[in-house]
């Protein structure tokens, strides 16, 4: 291999490598941004702090297009079945907070494009409290709340 050839070979290899890298990162870029875990929101001790850590500086409107399905009176706070349904178009995320829990931020569900606005799970509720659902839809935030009575608290 002559010097000229070698240089050309190296140059081409580098170009190919660059093209491959861009291609691969492009393909692997997830549809939903896998954001860093929001530890500050999970550690927040009040609903206000949790909201501020989750949605800094954003307005949250109350909306009746979100429905929280949970029993009014709960015997065992360790297992509280709960579902959240929203009719808001193209819901991007559903966030659950329990106002009186030691850490009010419970969970955030980031919905992909095919997901309909429905999530069901079971959560722990420490004492009688409002449950708050926040839905992100078309870049705006909407919320609703429902009070549940708890007989035995569920945070150990």
């Amino acid at each position: 291999m002559t010097d000229e050839n070698r240089r050309s070979f190296i140059r081409h290899s580098l170009c190919l490598l660059a093209a491959l890298t861009t291609g691969i990162t492009g393909v692997l870029k997830p549809l939903i941004a896998l954001a860093e875990r929001n530890s500050r929101a999970f550690a927040a001790g009040t609903e206000k702090d949790a909201r501020a850590a989750l949605f800094p500086g954003q307005q949250i409107e109350t909306s009746d297009a979100i429905h929280i399905e949970a029993r009014d009176v709960i015997e065992n706070g360790a297992v509280v079945p709960l579902s959240i349904t929203t009719k808001l178009p193209a819901a991007e995320s559903i966030t659950i907070l329990v106002e009186k829990n030691p850490n009010p931020f419970i969970a955030k569900f980031n919905l992909g494009p095919g997901c309909s606005g429905f999530i069901a799970t079971r959560i722990k509720v420490a004492q009688p409290s409002d449950i708050i659902a926040i839905v992100q839809s078309q870049g705006k935030l909407y919320s609703t709340r429902k009070f549940v009575e708890v007989i035995t608290g569920g945070c150990g």
Binding site: V79, I106, C115, I123, V125, G156
Partner: protein, 104 residues
Amino acid sequence: MASSIRVKTSMRDGLTTVRAIIRHPMHTGYEFDKEAKKLIPAHYIENVTVHHGDKVILQCDWGRAISANPYLSFTFTGAKTGDILRISWTDNLSGSDSIELGIQ
């Protein structure tokens, strides 16, 4: 070992419903072990990701207040019978598990 995840799917009018239960203690770190006379260390699932084929359709950030043996249900559109659904979780102690199944 059997998977920690049990999943059922059902399809109706183009809408797929997924119901999953994950076997996991979900310790908050606030519970007191009376026999050992100390707090049970926090051990809980932080992230659950659901793929439909190679697309992420649901990504969940969980705190310690999801009940033990977490239940998760959601619905989505655009699936065909036999499409691959993959559910995976990771916890705060670097534990993880996943399951793949064909949508029915």
